[in-house]
């Protein structure tokens, strides 16, 4: 098939399904129907049915992926508009991000070690709460598999947005800061896309948490790994 037609087909498929799934979500409002999850599943099913590989899909997919960069830059806007509240809560934000980040790396690596996974897998699971470009870097530096690290980052993100509403209910997380920091620390950009549903304040908290996690992760992640599995 002509490359251009193929690219357009894949872009059209993704965009069309996304808006369809979004409409379903708006109508039914079940936390299990978040469009990022349902669209991903339906796209994978369609590709599998037509025996289209991921590589072929990305001929078009990469054009949508190219917009993720400026979309992340855009998260600066809620962040900037909520700057007074962020300044007022610097310590609680920092506390949640640092403690949560450490707990995330520790519990993942220790559980994987307990099960007897290789160092290669430990290094791939360690950065699962951190946005994927950073997670890949950390995994690589520690001798893990960068692409597997990305997959675990995505699983963490999707699981995070599914569990978020339950966590908020069970643990009485009823503030924008509590809900936003949880999503940003545990589920990075995917969590932040969910936090936007809750409003600008929650989104700004999630963005701060995601950004801080990335910065701290990039600096401290490799050191943490060396300490955990020398």
């Amino acid at each position: 098939m002509n490359t251009i037609i193929l690219a357009f087909t894949m872009i059209w498929l993704t965009v069309m399904l996304y808006f369809l799934m979004n409409a379903v979500y708006v109508r039914l409002r079940s936390p299990f129907l978040v469009p990022i999850l349902t669209t991903t599943i339906v796209v994978i099913v369609v590709l599998s049915l037509f025996h289209v590989s991921y590589e072929t899909y990305m001929v078009g997919g990469k054009w949508i992926d190219a917009l993720l960069g400026p979309a992340i830059v855009s998260l600066c806007i809620p962040l900037y508009k909520q700057r007074d509240i962020i300044k007022k809560n610097l310590l609680p934000i920092f506390g949640g991000v640092v403690v949560g980040g450490i707990v995330g790396m520790l519990t993942g690596v220790l559980a994987a070690r307990l099960v007897g996974f290789s160092t290669e897998l430990l290094a791939s699971i360690l950065p699962k709460s951190i946005t994927s470009p950073i997670a890949m870097q950390i995994a690589e530096e520690l001798g893990g598999i960068p692409s597997l690290a990305t997959v675990l980052v995505i699983i963490a993100g999707l699981a995070g947005i599914l569990m978020g509403p339950w966590i908020n209910r069970w643990f009485k997380i009823d503030t924008a800061i509590g809900q936003g920091i949880g999503l940003g620390v545990g589920a990075h950009a995917i969590g932040t896309s969910k936090a936007l549903e809750y409003g600008e304040q929650t989104a700004s908290m999630s963005s701060v948490a995601m950004t801080l996690s990335a910065i701290i992760g990039a600096l401290a992640g490799p050191l943490f790994g060396i300490w955990l599995f020398p």
């Binding site: 994978i44 991000v97 707990v103």
Partner: protein
């Protein structure tokens, strides 16, 4: 006219992202270009080099559809089915349980610290 303005702003945000990528490559900063771009924009807004209204409309175009741009990456999971059969499935379980604990701890720590802040200062955020 509104659409033209929003599109110009989208283009400007893209340039900020490219600037972030450029800085990352030139200075070998260990952060993704998108996050450097975000920090760059924060800096420009803070020192009032550019007003918020120059980027706000474009940003909301992106933010209202943010999950869409993550989908090409999430679809990539399809190539990893084989890793998660048998013992590998525990990787998924561990990731989910660890994410649960991470979120609970992060939420509780920040929320309780923020509430204590409010009590001490007597200000509501």
């Amino acid at each position: 006219m509104k659409i033209v303005i929003a599109l110009l702003q989208v283009g400007f945000l893209y340039i900020l992202f490219l600037a972030g990528e450029f800085l990352q490559a030139k200075l070998s900063i260990p952060l993704p270009g998108s996050i450097i771009g975000l920090l760059l924009l924060w800096g420009l807004l803070s020192i009032k080099v550019i007003p918020l209204r120059w980027v706000e409309k474009g940003a909301y175009v992106f933010l209202s559809t943010l999950p869409l741009y993550l989908i090409p990456a999430t679809v990539g999971v399809m190539d990893y089915g084989h890793v998660f059969v048998g013992k590998g499935s525990l990787l998924i379980l561990i990731t989910i349980v660890s994410t649960f604990i991470t979120m609970v701890v992060a939420s509780l720590v920040s929320q309780s610290m923020a509430k204590r802040n409010v009590k001490e200062e007597g200000t509501l955020s």
